[in-house]
Subunit: 410 residues, 2 copies
Amino acid sequence: MRAEIIAVGSELLTPARVDTNSLWLTAKLNEIGVEVSQKSILSDDRDLLAAAVAGALSRAPLVLITGGLGPTEDDVTREAVAQAMHRRLLFDEAICAGIEAIFARRGRKMAEINRRQAFLVEGAAALDNPNGTAPGQWIDYPGGIVLLLPGPPQELKPMFEELCLPRLKERLPKAAIRTRFFRVAGMGESDVDALIAPIYKEYRNPVTTILAAAGDVQVHLRAQCQTEEEAEALVEELGAKIRERLGDRIYSLNGDPLENVVGNLLRERGATLAVAESCTAGLLGGRITEAAGASEYFLGGFQVYGKGMKARLLGLDEKLVEEAGVVSEAAAKAMADSARDRTGATYAISITGEAGPESSSPGIEPGTVWIGVAGPEGCEARMFKFPTGRARVRAFAVQTALNLLRLALK
Amino acid sequence: MRAEIIAVGSELLTPARVDTNSLWLTAKLNEIGVEVSQKSILSDDRDLLAAAVAGALSRAPLVLITGGLGPTEDDVTREAVAQAMHRRLLFDEAICAGIEAIFARRGRKMAEINRRQAFLVEGAAALDNPNGTAPGQWIDYPGGIVLLLPGPPQELKPMFEELCLPRLKERLPKAAIRTRFFRVAGMGESDVDALIAPIYKEYRNPVTTILAAAGDVQVHLRAQCQTEEEAEALVEELGAKIRERLGDRIYSLNGDPLENVVGNLLRERGATLAVAESCTAGLLGGRITEAAGASEYFLGGFQVYGKGMKARLLGLDEKLVEEAGVVSEAAAKAMADSARDRTGATYAISITGEAGPESSSPGIEPGTVWIGVAGPEGCEARMFKFPTGRARVRAFAVQTALNLLRLALK
């Protein structure tokens, strides 16, 4: 089943505000097998909102509208929905009395404008709101269901969870959802797609989605069936084929980020790690320690960014650095070896490169990065040419360094 | 003028993902006097997207569509826009050659599917994308303008800023807009608001917006008038009052990030900087070197994360560490002093704290962080209790450390 969510409120169209209700609602809907097929954010304009509601009703059997149920002139959701559904708004004495009682409990008199909150779309059932004044509304119509929910999360969440979810479950055709989430390092999005598209295109169910960030490609599978067993069998069938095709380029079978995967490998081996960072200046250490509990395996390292620091902090031979250059195989290897030596770690990773925008090493293009990995079996370094852009080069370098260590640990 | 933004991508309809591009675009559009009247988020479904684009074209003279320009079958934006506008898609040899060249520079061959990215909607002008493969598209039509922009923020932002904003400004009815962008460190959003709300509430023009991230509060002023002189006079009038109220809690009068402000202060003084990072493990060094040209003043430092590393890499007295604890004034000062000494830098910053989720130092709550600053005039350390959450504590620590150095340099 498909749902659309419409969030109402001019403040949600400013640079500072995110509609977080729809994220929470999406998670709850996904759990009962409902997909969100479209989200819209509209200002407090009755005609625009009515047009958007009418559009949503024509596309999806479940439409959730959040916000715009307050007492002021700006709160146009009730009017807009009535207009879109060609229904009247009816005043409800009992709801009005309930709102008056809420004010009375706080020792205040209900303002006249709050009467607006006691209007229901013709045919709607009121959804009680113990955490605010505006009731929600559940509206059945021949094509499906429309829900009007309050905007404040502390009102919306209990109302949806307690009053809407149980009724929705009863109404839904039984559907079960199963997912897989693989992550791939060391390949571009289009290369991953070229490899696995011939496989996943054989399936309309599961649905396959591929996403990419610097040096990280995510493959999401989602199967929807009548039973959990069928859905599980389908994601497992396609998942196994994709796993086989991508081999150890997949670093995570459950969506874990690379720093956690590497951390687990180190922990399993009782090994420790150190770093020596030039162009990344600490980003690799920062990334490794995003994982809580990283102190079990991450010791620390050296940020050797400025001139002379590779000699001063890591003891690199000044002549070597001068002859081979700071962005070189020799420098990368000496950095990793020295970091390993000086910290006493089992493994050490070094990164030295040109992040740009301009190169300070003659003959070395921005994007060129050497990465070294030193371990009990010796030290190796590899050169990479990453896509340019200072932030991107550094992000690629960190991701690639972690992936090289992962492969060394396997 | 009104604009609508359509974000394309099934991943944006999952519970975990927020469309942040539209927030950034909204801020940029607001600056040139364009209001966003509606936002939509759609899956990678060509027909649904085409219908949404057609709807947006009928309502707003400027429609921005982000995402869905990649090389895979899932990337349907080009096709959907062509369908909605009743135009053809035309293959562009020059764009294709450009994409091939990008792959060639990285020593790779372009995959066949990347040819998809070389199709333009009939009548579109390609928008060059130096940070990715897919060009954007600028499409004029009798009712207005449609822009197709890539989804990755690092591609979208420079493309919009450099290629779209200047052209949009030319096209807009002449309204003079003047802005101010102040940034404040060391205060929470609500504290800043409490201080300056009595001032800015006196003005409907300029409009004041306050945004906040970890340890960073942004104050945006925007005046819109018939002439530039009037707009400038208005933002300057309100800006001067706000500057006076906030004093040196404002670290930037032009929107520059804190690492650039600190970098400029160091550069002016011919001073250099080193770091010693425990719980941040390199994030401070990484942040300082986000500024291109940081090698003029940033030397490097020490990631002393694991047990014993403060003694081993920085020579801290093991007894001192044992008695005072690793999260202490004594440890923070010794770390800063030693980093300054061992690198020869003019200044050194140290960070040692408990990021959480659990505390490994008895009696020290997660969120507790000591920050030390050592310089020619001696060494001082201060304790902070940041809001919990591992990533948040570390982000606050980095921002606060930079701000302490800024105040020391003033």
